[in-house]
């Protein structure tokens, strides 16, 4: 991947495979490491959901590729699916992979400010993934106490029956946090200090801003949970009683520590996805981003507010009911900045010249689908209706309508958009669109039925509904089967993506330097950029979204183009 052209400040040698791809300090290689690890973990997450959805649709059947699903397996699969998709797919792909790849390129410098800490960050992440995978194979099996790991269930092997799986899960999560703390500090410092000359605060592309805000929110919220993880690990392995009520501890404390991080975490992954969408819709509608500063302020507002809403996950969890009123108010208020952000994006489309390329389709689908996730959140943030909806499939469908657009639609948008830059080849458009429509249609067929079963009282993490007569009424099981079949279709369509991805990687059409005619600095570098990124580090003259500017001769105006050439 390194056609060595000019090289700014780096001694460049021909390196061996290991040095170049596994021990590299180049931000682009580290970005790829995160990307491919995330894609691999997504396969695990996809496989687990396939197995447990099959069990739900056809209880007791021998699932092809897995066998009979026991209740123990079921809990482990659900837990693994949740943890993997959030911590090992959404976080590494959206923040770490894209942050690493894009930040130095988009702000016009040659690397991250701490390349070796960056490498360490990935290595810790890799270790955390391996620890998690190891936990599937230890005695007692993988942890099955849900991704929220509420004690006392998670604290005592006598309760969860996974004496090794539970501590390993916890260690994996804690290591993952440390990896992202290191990565986050790198991102924040790089963007603050190493922008190209001339690039002022409001000339930074939105996606970079979003990754930085997300990193700050992550860093500020994860601390208490790191502390909580240490305490829970002691409860599991040494026998302390931090969360054990019979020994003076309090299980509710963990819930608070968890959600103090857990809710901001939603925005940690949402914001980068929003940033990706901002980049793509501006390019493919040839429009300036509507109200750049407003987008920024709403993102910051969302980040700040996200620290005041966490207990809405605990309305009926035994917290004092008076506190629920406060958290209900703050929760609903957070809809304001998010709604504004969505409206800004819709307004950006107005008066544009829209081309529905694959990345644009993904970006638009993000807005359309995320809207559903957003509005259904109101039902859960309002304390009164949450009494009924809490821990039903309505919640499951709601957060999949937020997390699927974030983790997958956002990632697909990013991968299809930056693929030419990353690998120097073009993805096949036709197969890209086939993959898009297959995924989007199947996705809706999974979760609209689940909204309905949830509204009828289906609760989560149940391995066999036949024990509940009210949940086996006419039409309920059909819905579950429909969702499962749609899931299988969705998974099948991912094969199209993988084939397209790897085929284009090798045999795709060669990409130009700036195939989408975009303004931001990464398109100034060669495709793919060499070690050191730019032949000559760029200087910035304007904001990132000057499309169709009346004074520019083209309908785009790259950030690094000096004004006199216009």
């Amino acid at each position: 991947m390194s056609s060595a052209t000019a090289d700014a400040g780096h001694g460049h040698h021909d390196q061996g495979f290991i040095k170049k791809y596994l021990w590299s300090t180049d931000h682009k290689v580290i970005g790829f490491q995160y990307l491919f690890t995330g894609m691999f973990m997504a396969l695990i997450g996809g496989f687990t959901v396939y197995v447990f959805r099959m069990q739900l649709a056809f209880p007791g059947m021998s699932v092809p590729g897995f066998g009979r699903v026991t209740a123990h397996d079921y809990n482990s699969l659900v837990t693994t699916h949740g943890s993997v998709m959030i911590f090992w797919v959404a976080m590494p792909v959206l923040i770490a992979a894209l942050g690493n790849y894009l930040i130095p390129l988009m702000i016009g410098c040659d690397d991250m400010v701490f390349p070796r800490i960056n490498r360490l960050s990935y290595q810790l992440f890799l270790v955390s993934s391996l620890v998690l995978i190891t936990s599937f194979f230890v005695d007692g099996g993988a942890f099955g106490g849900a991704w929220t790991a509420y004690p006392p269930l998670s604290a005592k092997a006598a309760y969860n029956l996974t004496p090794h799986g539970a501590p390993l899960w916890l260690v994996a999560v804690a290591l993952e946090f440390v990896a992202f703390l290191l990565g986050g500090i790198n991102f924040i410092t790089t963007v603050m200090n190493s922008r190209a000359p001339g690039m002022k605060m409001f000339d930074v592309p939105i996606v970079v801003w979003m990754i930085v805000i997300a990193s700050i929110v992550f860093m500020a919220s994860v601390g208490p949970l790191v502390a909580g993880a240490v305490m829970l690990l002691f409860d599991q392995t040494v026998g302390t009683g931090f969360f054990d009520p019979s020994r003076g501890g309090d299980p509710v404390l963990w819930q608070h520590l968890f959600w103090f991080f857990g809710h901001p975490e939603v925005y940690v992954v949402l914001l980068p996805a929003m940033g990706i969408v901002a980049e793509i819709i501006t390019v493919f509608s040839r429009k300036k981003l509507f109200a750049y500063k407003t987008v920024l302020y709403t993102a910051i507002g969302t980040g700040v507010l996200s620290f005041f809403v966490w207990a809405h996950h605990q309305f009926v969890a035994g917290i004092d009911p008076r506190m629920a009123n406060i958290f209900s108010v703050t929760t609903l208020l957070i809809s304001i900045p998010v709604a504004e952000m969505v409206f800004v994006y819709i307004a950006t489309l107005y008066g544009g010249s829209i081309r529905l390329t694959t990345p644009m389709l993904w970006a638009l689908a993000f807005i359309g689908e995320f809207l559903i996730g957003g509005v259904t959140g109101i039902f859960l943030g309002a304390s009164g209706s949450d009494i009924y909806f809490h821990d039903t499939y309505f919640v499951v469908a709601h957060f999949h309508y937020t997390f699927f657009p974030i983790a997958f639609i956002g990632s697909f948008a990013a991968i299809t958009y930056w693929f030419p830059k990353m690998f120097g080849k073009m993805l096949n458009e036709t197969w890209g669109k086939v993959h898009f429509w297959g995924t989007i249609i199947a996705f809706n067929f999974i979760f609209i039925p689940l909204f309905l079963t949830g509204a009828r009282g289906d609760h989560r993490r149940i391995y066999d509904y036949t024990h509940f007569p009210d949940l086996m009424k006419a039409g309920m099981q059909e819905m579950r089967v429909l969702a499962t079949l749609a899931l299988v279709v969705l998974l099948a369509f991912q094969v199209v993506f993988l084939v397209n991805f790897f085929y284009s990687l090798v045999k795709g059409k060669k990409a130009e330097q700036n195939p989408w005619k975009a303004n931001t600095l990464e398109w100034v570098a060669a495709s793919p950029p060499p070690h050191g990124n730019f032949p000559e580090l760029p200087t910035v003259y304007r904001g990132p979204y000057e499309y169709s500017h009346p004074e520019a001769k083209d309908d785009y105006w790259p950030q690094n183009q000096p004004p006199q050439t216009a």
């Binding site: 509507f290 035994g318 409206f343 809207l371 821990d391 024990h467 509940f468």
Partner: protein, 238 residues
Amino acid sequence: MISHYLEQASTFARDIDNLILLITLTVGFWFLLAQFLFFGFILKFRAQDGKKAQYISGENKWEKRWVSLPHYATLFFDVLIIIAAIRVWQDVKMTLPQADSTVRVIAQQWAWTFVHPGPDNKLDTADDIRTVDELHVEVNKTYHFELQSRDVLHSFSVPVFRLKQDVIPGRTIKGWFKPTMTGGFDVQCTEICGIGHGIMAARVLIENAADHAAWVKANAPQVAAATPADNVPTGGSR
């Protein structure tokens, strides 16, 4: 809306359903409006040869209305929903109306024990009726419940009542309900509690006054009777 699928079997079930309906209507309107604009723009502003896109910064006063209008509209409807939600919440979770009877619900991995007060209508007396996975209540009577857990977190959920409350070991959590129709309905555990979480089912049997009295009479232990069949000491994990 929900009542179309699921009976409303408690006094506050209707309130919760109405709240859900209110939210559906308000956010539904904004959702449809946003999707209408969204798809409208996509269709209207497709790329045409030789036609340049408009240059709109979104920073001047008129354009800012695109943002400020949704801002105030969202705020207004948020306040509306908050008021409605908190009213329901107050009623269900923050008030305890005078009870006709009290039942104790003890959760454990993976069964429910229900302690009914028996003929004397008092808990912790010798004539308490203990049942496993079967809660017997009388229609149109206000009940208090006391939730206790022996081991891990559980959640006491009765969908037809629209009632849900987590059970925490070491704590006693009180709440209330008033059944409004007779019948047998699911009680679910909705907080993951280990391997048997998926089979931790129980039934609530709502009986009319005569049937309930008959059930109490038939099941009340003779005073100073032997330890109940399920061999559970009184008062859960005390």
